[in-house]
Amino acid sequence: MTAPDHHHDHSDLTETELRVRALETVLTEKGYVDPAALDAIVQAYETRIGPHNGARVVAKAWLDPAFRRALLEDGTKAIATLGHVSRVGDHLVVVENTPERHNMVVCTLCSCYPWELLGLPPVWYKAAPYRSRAVKDPRGVLADFGLSLPKEMEIRVWDSTAETRFLVLPMRPEGTEGFGEDQLAELVTRDSMIGTGFPKTPGAPS
């Protein structure tokens, strides 16, 4: 895997790589960790978590009003009833977009994120431009993502400063009448569940 050119913060790769290897060797030799367990952690992250989990939850909420109500009441409890979605930690708060209100999630202090449902956060979520501006100029941030909201719509920014985690329930796109759960889940993007995007519209180029 190589980093694209504009990611200038990945310089000194070789020095960093050596340092990481040195540390892992020390930890292994001291008997703190089994390298095979580290492999297993990485593999679990790479295969088991990701926005496909969140997309199932959103699609289900769009189709099932009772599940939607339960989800908004207690996200962790509601998701535990879905066998096919990975279990999530306590205190997952699901916040719903409406024609009057758009929600957006940030962690100004670092990188808190509902990773069981969305995977590990993207670089931009953890970087200074988003963390600094999301709370002060959310409309400007949304413009960076190519989004424009009606002038009078309320924007609610949730700063994840504790062990609560937030998932945005986006509005169901028009033209999806009669869609099943699988079809709907395909329209749900990661960014639409952070609040920096909208779900895909059926038929539109992705």
Binding site: M1, V33, K151, E154
Partner: protein
């Protein structure tokens, strides 16, 4: 501490640049750093607030110049040295030179992987009744501890509305000092954008933070 990590409301960091089809890791070493931090945390070498604190105390120029996982690596090295699990010369040499310090929950093995795939539990039984209820006004205290805290600077001194009560949670300001969990009530407090950013800022914006009871006082 009033560190550079507390960036809410700062200007000048530029445009957000989403990367299309971003991979989970940009290099293998990033995944090893993540795994080491998760494994050692689960083994009881440190708690999550100590890992946060050790990144926040990196010198500001180092924090800003480093990528996300570089910060994790630097913070991890600092923390392991600080707690006596690793000696600085061991990191330099890339080999163990001194006896290991026992881990609270023992060596991290393959059998432990499953339990870290769900977030830890931070909710605790209340020790006393909550001081605020939904709808109450609360002021974020004008406090500036030099140790780890989760009350961002941009809300300090401002009055917001209590929207949700999340029960009692482990208090990061105590846990970071290994001074016990000291559970505290946790609230969602909502502020008007104009209260934080001035009367000429966007009137449609509301911002909430998750605030522990010791961060709050009556308005």
């Amino acid at each position: 501490m009033n560190g550079v990590h507390d960036m809410g409301g700062m200007d000048g960091f530029g445009k957000i640049e989403p990367e299309p089809n971003e991979p989970m890791f940009h290099a293998e070493w990033e995944s090893r750093v993540l795994a080491m931090v998760r494994a050692l945390g689960a083994a009881g070498a440190f708690n999550i607030d100590m890992t946060r604190s050790h990144q926040e105390t990196l010198p500001p120029h180092v924090y800003l110049r480093s990528s996300y996982y570089q910060r994790w690596l630097l913070g991890l090295e600092d923390l392991l040295i600080d707690k006596g699990f690793v000696a600085p010369q061991e990191i330099t040499m890339g080999h163990a030179l001194e006896p290991a310090r026992p881990l609270k929950r023992g060596k991290f093995t393959v059998d432990d992987v499953e339990r870290i795939m769900m977030r830890g539990k931070f909710g605790r039984d209340p020790q006393s009744p909550a001081k605020f209820k939904p709808g109450d006004l609360a002021r974020a205290r004008n406090m500036h501890p030099t140790t780890h805290t989760r009350l961002p600077r941009y809300v300090r001194g401002h009055v917001g509305v209590v929207e949700r009560v999340h029960g009692c949670h482990v208090f990061p300001d105590s846990a970071v000092l290994e001074a016990g969990e000291n559970p505290q009530w946790l609230y969602t407090i909502v502020f008007d954008g104009t209260a934080l950013w001035g009367s000429d800022s966007d009137p449609t914006v509301k911002i909430s933070v998750e605030a522990f009871e010791p961060y709050l006082e009556p308005p």
